[in-house]
């Protein structure tokens, strides 16, 4: 919440002259980006899967391994239900902030873009889940690493996903490298679609890259999972 105010007033000051365009954003779109972040963050970045590492290093995973239930699907279900709850709060928060700050929003009217936006959100949710889940499996080998490694992951995600600033204010060369990683497809890319800032071709390419990452991460997760189970020592309990 506090962070939102900070970011809002920062950009509000930069766009004090309402005709001004910075990095290709006018005042309205930048503020929509900031507000869109609240909703998209609540959907994508609020994840239960960051508890997987702790579950494994504490040994609570034993309860689930003993049951006829898939561990991945169990966490995906918990993930999605917690997102549901988060979304309710995020909508509430947005409405509240809207009335406090009274910005003029950019409303996307193109149905096709809205559908693509929704698709990119679903992809982002799954990619982020797989990233966190796979990272959460490291404690199979190094039980004490649970907290550190997921924290490192959060820092990287925060910076490279566009949670702090729109990524297209970075130099083009840096952007093109970042675009090969899965991170910009978590927040930045969906919001770009919503704001109508990408052409059809780039949009399709972005969705294609997201699908590719989804597949790669799925395979990676499965291989790490099976290797992890083999070296799991189920200490203590």
């Amino acid at each position: 919440m506090f962070q939102i105010f900070l970011v809002f007033f920062l950009w509000d000051t930069i766009f004090a002259n309402s005709q001004r365009i910075v990095f290709g954003y006018d005042r309205q779109k930048m503020l929509t980006y900031i507000f869109g972040l609240i909703i998209v963050r609540a959907l994508v970045l609020s994840s239960k899967a960051n508890e997987v590492g702790g579950d494994i290093s504490r040994g609570d995973i034993i309860n689930l391994l003993l049951k006829p239930i898939s561990y991945v699907k169990y966490w995906l279900t918990r993930d999605l239900s917690s997102k549901g709850i988060n979304l309710i709060f995020a909508v509430f928060e947005t409405i509240l902030l809207y009335f406090i700050l009274r910005p003029d929003f950019f409303l996307q009217g193109n149905i096709l873009l809205l559908l693509s936006f929704a698709t990119s959100i679903v992809l982002a949710i799954l990619i982020y889940f797989l990233l966190l889940f796979t990272i959460g499996l490291v404690p199979f080998w190094v039980p004490e690493s649970a907290w550190g490694i997921s924290f490192l992951m959060l820092v990287v995600v925060e910076f490279l996903s566009g949670a702090l600033f729109p990524l297209d204010i970075l130099p083009v060369s840096v952007q093109s490298i970042i675009n090969f990683t899965p991170f910009p497809y978590l927040l930045f890319f969906p919001l770009q679609i919503y704001l109508g800032k990408v052409g059809t071709l780039i949009m399709l390419r972005g969705i294609g890259v997201s699908f590719l990452w989804l597949g790669v991460l799925w395979l990676l997760m499965r291989s790490v999972w099976f290797k992890g189970l083999k070296s799991y020592q189920a200490y203590g309990r």
């Binding site: 034993i62 391994l65 003993l66 049951k67 006829p68 189970l229 799991y232 189920a234 309990r237």
Partner: protein
């Protein structure tokens, strides 16, 4: 399906030449050593199970005993599919445990005294309903099993209480219900009475006995509680340092491992008890009664010697109490030497 037929034709549990090695990373104290262990970890391999073999029939209730760190829990974890063994053959109900097939997991349960599966912030009934969904139990089966279990364990009134507000004994009994709701055919119990008071222990014990009989369930029990073993297990497997030292009837364990016999004496008049020390170890003096422990081989000679030299009103020669033998097992005093002597006898079971 073919797996089920296979299981009926064969033993419920087969373990052959099972070996499990663990790799440990050694860390010395201090910050410098912590860094060193990251850069160049010192790995140490520990053999938790060395080549163990046994089979168990359907409906058997077996006590698994041995000192701490003997390999009991490791064996149970392998049998329930939590750990991959280093080598060896293991089959439970016709399945390879670590494949963790849903059909296998629906038929087993592992209960650990120090493990919680109940959701801490919710009443127990919520966890039980979640388990109903996970094990795909119909409402009628769920109701029937739940009523039966709550009656047996006398916890019907506690189902709607938040778990964090329950006492340890109450919680343990509800944990048992959560683990047994799907009526597993094979049950692994690791210290099921840990931390319970005497009354609660007895309730859990009666329940295990009953469950074994009613459902023809196969049960392996580990416990450091003497009464658990004496009340429940007919057959015991003694394990220490990853090796099986004895496998057979509990009564036989006493016969085989008891080194001493106990002579109970009632003196008819006062006498110099000190002289008794030359014959055996005085265990208790409560005049006119004296209890004496003598080596098995010389028990008869010792008895006759006492009868000749002391004013004895009554004398009985008894086996060493079962508790004492088991206590020696827990202390790890039963050694491999004895095992070698025993082997031919134990294997013709």
């Amino acid at each position: 399906m073919s797996n089920n037929f296979k299981a009926e034709a064969e033993k419920t549990i087969i373990v052959e030449r099972l070996v499990k090695n663990f790799e440990l990373i050694e860390k010395k104290d201090g910050i410098l050593n912590s860094f060193l262990s990251i850069v160049a970890p010192k790995k140490k391999s520990i053999t938790a199970l060395k080549d163990i073999s046994f089979t168990i029939d359907q409906g058997e209730l077996i006590g698994f005993i041995g000192p701490n760190g003997a390999g009991k829990t490791t064996t149970l974890k392998i049998l329930s599919g939590l750990l991959y063994p280093t080598s060896g053959f293991t089959q439970v109900l016709g399945f390879t445990p670590w494949d963790r097939k849903p059909e296998f997991l629906k038929e087993i349960s592992l209960v650990m005294g120090q493990k919680n599966q109940l959701w801490w912030d919710l009443p127990a009934i919520e966890t039980l309903k979640l388990n109903q969904a996970i094990y795909e139990l119909s409402d009628s089966v769920f109701r029937r099993n739940l009523n039966e279990l709550t009656d047996l364990l006398e916890v019907g009134k506690l189902l709607n209480t938040q778990v964090r507000q329950l006492s340890l004994g109450q919680r343990m009994r509800l944990e048992l219900i959560a683990s047994l709701l799907h009526s597993p055919k094979v049950l692994f119990l690791d210290e099921p009475t840990l931390g319970l008071d005497v009354v609660a222990q007895q309730k859990v014990r009666d329940f295990i006995f009953d469950y074994n009989r009613r459902n023809k369930a196969t049960i392996i029990l580990t416990s450091h509680n003497m009464d658990d073993l004496i009340d429940l297990a007919k057959r015991v497997i003694v394990i220490d340092k990853g090796e099986i030292l004895f496998d057979g009837n509990l009564q036989k364990l006493v016969e085989e491992f008891a080194k001493e016999k106990v002579i109970k004496l009632y003196f008819s008049k006062n006498t110099d008890i000190k002289k008794l020390e030359e014959i055996g170890k005085i265990k208790r003096i409560n005049l006119p009664q004296v209890i004496l422990a003598v080596p098995r081989e010389v028990a008869a000679i010792a008895a006759s010697e006492i009868l000749q030299n002391f004013p004895v009103a009554d004398l009985t020669v008894e086996e060493e109490p079962i508790e004492d033998v088991i206590r020696r097992v827990f202390k790890g005093e039963i050694t491999r030497k004895e095992k070698r002597l025993l082997k031919p006898k134990a294997s013709d079971e």
